[in-house]
């Protein structure tokens, strides 16, 4: 296949520059945390309680983000080897091993500064049991308090009053008292509600960005580009003024791109021609992220929607943080993250994306490390093909273990898949 021309390679949008600055400043704050007397909370992306943490003036560290950053910076292989050398099984999640290896290697963060040790491990394990084991392992190292928030699973894709009450009870009786003890402050409800209101504003803009991909050509890539777009809202910034400004700017840029009939930004500039519109299920591979992305852009394939970008919140199904019910809204947020949904609900969401975003088909990137995502994906593949008549592709890799990224094999599969999409197009859809 020929390569669709790309334009203005290397040019960065203002929002990209802003995000980079935000992240750099956050890691600077972390580096100064001890000096500034600020407490540090380690927590996870899905179901994170960023607004609550920030309302106590504490700073977040997200070990998954550190692991994926290590993967992108080519350091994860050594960290994983370090963890396996110390007795961790080759079978288990590489995010965990990357984090353990990074810790054993000095805990140097992605910007090159040493990360402060946690004052609190906030274990809210939404959609993934491995999180629980991960923080048990970290607790062995840090010997600091752990606040556990058990978030029930949604087998039917429905939040029941019992689930919500269980989470709210834990927030009030376990999590907030633990934060008060660690921070030395009482909960400031006014500050929390202000944070939640700002979250909702940013969420509005993010949804508009996601939904821009319904346009032809899509002005965004909703998977590879999407992981950059969700960076601030999934991590330490949701609820902040910075996040509101970032998403306002991003939306403006995407609107302008759409008005100009431009395709998405890619590692090699703007995609000139949209040949395939795909929905993607599963996390990306981080160790060869740009190589992986280029396998799509070279063919003119654009991800118009993805489920990975919903692991930190399913805002496009209507959820917004609601400042008028602070505890209930935090509970609903935690309960509603993508991998906390039962498989039938996940299939229904993917079906919706395929139809509403006018996708030609869908790709599942099945990662070895993440059973929460991966177990059941082969059935999802069959079910989605049956329901939509669109072809599905299945590739396998890993999050941050480069041993499981077989470049030639994956590229071959993607190309074969896109040929199948072409063949189906000529045959027409049911």
């Amino acid at each position: 296949m020929s390569t669709p021309a790309a334009a203005a390679a290397g040019a960065k949008d203002e929002s990209q520059i802003r995000q980079k600055r935000m992240i750099g400043e956050h890691f600077e704050r972390l580096a100064r945390a001890r000096h500034d007397g600020r407490k540090v909370v380690y927590t996870f992306v899905p179901g994170n309680l960023t607004e609550l943490i920030a309302s106590f003036g504490m700073l977040s560290v997200l070990p998954e983000i550190n692991a994926l950053q290590s993967g992108m910076r080519g350091r994860s292989a050594a960290y994983i080897a370090e963890a396996e050398k110390s007795g961790h099984s080759e079978d288990v999640c590489t995010y965990v091993k990357c984090d353990i290896g990074m810790l054993r290697s000095g805990n140097i963060g992605p910007t090159g500064t040493k990360l402060p040790e946690p004052d609190l491990l906030l274990l809210s394990y939404t959609g993934c049991f491995t999180f629980m084991k991960w923080f048990e392992l970290l607790r062995e190292q840090y010997r600091c308090p752990v606040a556990m928030l058990h978030v029930p699973y949604q087998p039917d894709g429905v939040i029941t009053p019992s689930m919500r009450a269980y989470v709210v009870d834990q927030l009030k009786n376990e999590v907030i008292p633990a934060m008060e003890r660690v921070s030395g402050r009482r909960l400031d409800l006014d500050e929390l509600t202000a944070q939640l209101a700002r979250s909702a504003a940013a969420e509005d803009d993010l949804v508009a960005v996601w939904e821009s991909a319904r346009h032809r050509p899509s002005p965004i890539d909703g998977y590879f580009g999407g992981v950059y777009y969700v960076g601030p809202i999934f991590s330490a910034f949701r609820g902040s003024e910075e996040a509101v400004a970032y998403y306002r700017e991003l939306r403006r840029e995407v609107d302008a791109r759409m008005a100009a009939g431009k395709g998405p930004a890619t590692p090699d500039g703007t995609l000139a021609e949209e040949r395939y519109r795909l929905v993607v299920e599963g996390p990306p591979n981080w160790t060869s992220f740009n190589d992986f992305w280029r396998m799509f852009t070279r063919e003119g394939a654009v991800a118009v929607a993805s489920t990975y970008t919903r692991v930190g919140g399913l805002y496009d199904t209507g959820f917004r943080h609601d400042a008028s019910h602070p505890f209930e809204t935090l509970a609903d947020y935690c309960l509603g993250c993508y991998t906390n949904l039962g498989l039938p609900a996940r299939v229904a969401l993917l079906e919706r994306y395929i139809r509403e975003y006018h996708a030609d088909g869908f790709i599942i990137n099945s990662v070895k490390s993440c059973n929460s995502f991966s177990a059941g994906q082969l059935l999802m593949l069959r079910e989605l093909e049956r329901r939509t008549g669109r072809p599905g592709g299945f590739i396998e890799s890993d999050l941050v273990d480069p041993r499981y990224f077989g470049k030639a094999n994956i590229e071959n599969r993607i190309q074969s898949y896109l040929q199948m999409v072409d063949a189906r197009r000529h045959g027409g859809y049911a």
């Binding site: 009870d169 498989l343 070895k368």
Partner: protein, 396 residues
Amino acid sequence: MPETHVDPCGAVLERARALVEDRSLAHVRAWKTANPGALAIGYLPIYVPRPLFEALGCLPVALFGGGDELEIVRGDSYFQSYICHIPRSTLELGLSGHLDPLDGMVFPSICDVIRNLGGMWRMLFPDRYVAYLDIPQNFDMATGGRFFAHAMREIAEALGARGAKRLDAAALRRAIGGENARRASLERLDAIRRAEPWRLRASEAYLIARAGAGLPAATHRALVDEAVEAASRRPARLIDNARVVLRGSFCEQPPLDLIRSLEKAGCDIVDDDFQLGLRTIDGEIAVGEDEDPLDALARTYLQRGVATASRYIANDVKGAALVSRVRECGADGVVFAAASFCDPALLDQPMLEAALDRASIPHTSFKFAENNAQFQTIREQAGAFSDSVKLWGAER
């Protein structure tokens, strides 16, 4: 005439073996025939509150995958190579009709794979009852207990709508009493192999315990009692084996021949977490006079659930329960036997090993799959471990 030696345990072990190998659940069909209209409900490891089901007139049936005799034809096509074996064989059993006697399935919260298998079951068997039982990781009665009790009530209501009896406090008290009696019998069984492992090997105790997977508590208790009585009549033998505690097999089960291989290698398994579900509660379930028995079920799990990889450690010290168990059993060491790709067991293991190291308790580890057929390497490893703890254990 040559002297004929009859093993006092032979008959009961044979009955237990037949029940364990009954993959098509003929004994469950028989129970349903004897109890017209009653429901049989399968469940995956580790734990569901069995008395709840018995109180509803249902038969809870513990499922442990397909073992080493089941040929996997369709199950593999649903799972990637890096996922453990039990979901493949369970799906194979379901798709090939072996589980047809079951009117429903409950998938307890143990790991992401079993959880997602529940979602697959909903899609593949849309006409069957399927429930996900989210067992609390918050151990406060007013929070986790309330949530758990509510989850159990939801199951009772859903099964009631499908023909089960209404949840009745008196019936639940009786069912809890039956479970307590079974638990006491299992404790006697375990006490024998702890004290005199030559009377009842771990592989034999395994069969006796697992035979109860699809039996009412009272029926199983009778079987266990028979085994205990028969074992007491076995002639004593002195075997100079290493005494080991085994951990990591709480979900997918090792092949019986693997357990036997460990024994042949010189290991007396004096404690294990095979089919942990029946032993999840430490001791009996006490119900206060004025207490709702459903609350008692929840409370007992929260307060006296045994340590395992799927249970949050909360304020306990990781590995402390295992070290205590090794001491209580007078064990020489620990064998970790986890299923390949079992996230909970394999993520737990480094923490448990560290605790054992701190306590100077030797340990060894290997992985298995339920359909393994070659045990030579494991036998050699276990033999070397057994020899080392016998030869040098006392010097530590």
